[in-house]
Amino acid sequence: MARILINVPPKAKRGDVIEIKTLISHDMESGYRPDNVGKTIPRDIISLFVATYNGAEIFRAELHPAIAANPFLSFTTIATESGRIDFKWTGDNEFLATETALIAVE
């Protein structure tokens, strides 16, 4: 299981713009690197990241091999209501990782 770090403010005022930071451990093998006998290591990357806020999509990113290992993403959203923000990473070799953060909006 990939290690995931999420930074979402636990509390926010309604209407505030909050910054969300995500980090997931993954090699993001580009598919262009040779191994120690000169054979190319096959591509193995996370290709899609989706964030949903109480079920509605707020952010989506298509990642390519040019994204550094352990993909870091930071973006913003408006704190609309209390609830959960779900994060989902999918990629090559049926890679799937999910994480959830709770937020209280007053």
């Binding site: 690197r33 990113a61 298509e62 040019a66 994204i67 550094a68 993403l73 930071s74 973006f75």
Partner: protein
């Protein structure tokens, strides 16, 4: 062959060689970038995003360090000037490069719920090159910004 007669010419010769070598070195450091160019693939990737619409400069701010020591992880911040309302917001941001094996770097999709159009991530750079960020607005217009980055240690090619 006395010492007095010989040394001036020798000194002169060394001086000329040194100057020449220095000049050559300077030329070599200025020249690279011509080979391995794939701006064509970047252009076609750009076409795919923009289509027939015109790409204007402005509104987008692409922040990258001008000099990078390690191309394996380069912090990049893209922000777009937009009120981010339902009527007027940024729909997507695409980042393209010139000299990595593939032209695409990242494509993000946002909406009015983002509040601000600012995205940050870490990217790989295989060579010193030009990076371009393109933002698609809700009214169908496209805006862009470019950044030149010099990379000392390239990503992708080295063996672990």
């Amino acid at each position: 062959m006395t010492r007095d007669a010989h040394s001036p010419t020798r000194r002169g010769f060394l001086d000329i060689t040194a100057r020449f070598a220095g000049g050559l070195g300077l030329l070599l450091t200025v020249a690279p970038g011509a080979g391995r160019a794939t701006p064509a693939s970047m252009q076609s990737a750009m076409k795919k995003i923009v289509g027939e619409a015109t790409l204007a400069k402005g509104k987008v701010k692409l922040e990258l360090p001008p000099l990078v020591e390690n191309g394996n992880s380069v912090t990049m911040v893209v922000s777009v000037e937009s009120p981010m309302t339902i009527e007027d917001h940024v729909k997507s941001i695409h980042v393209l490069n010139e000299k990595n094996p593939q032209p695409n770097v990242i494509g993000v999709h946002l909406g009015p719920r983002a509040g601000r159009a600012t995205v940050s991530t870490r990217i790989r750079l295989a060579d010193s090159q030009k990076i371009i960020a393109i933002a698609e607005m809700s009214d169908g217009s496209f805006w862009s910004d470019e950044a030149e980055v010099v990379v000392t240690l390239a990503a992708c090619v080295e063996v672990l």
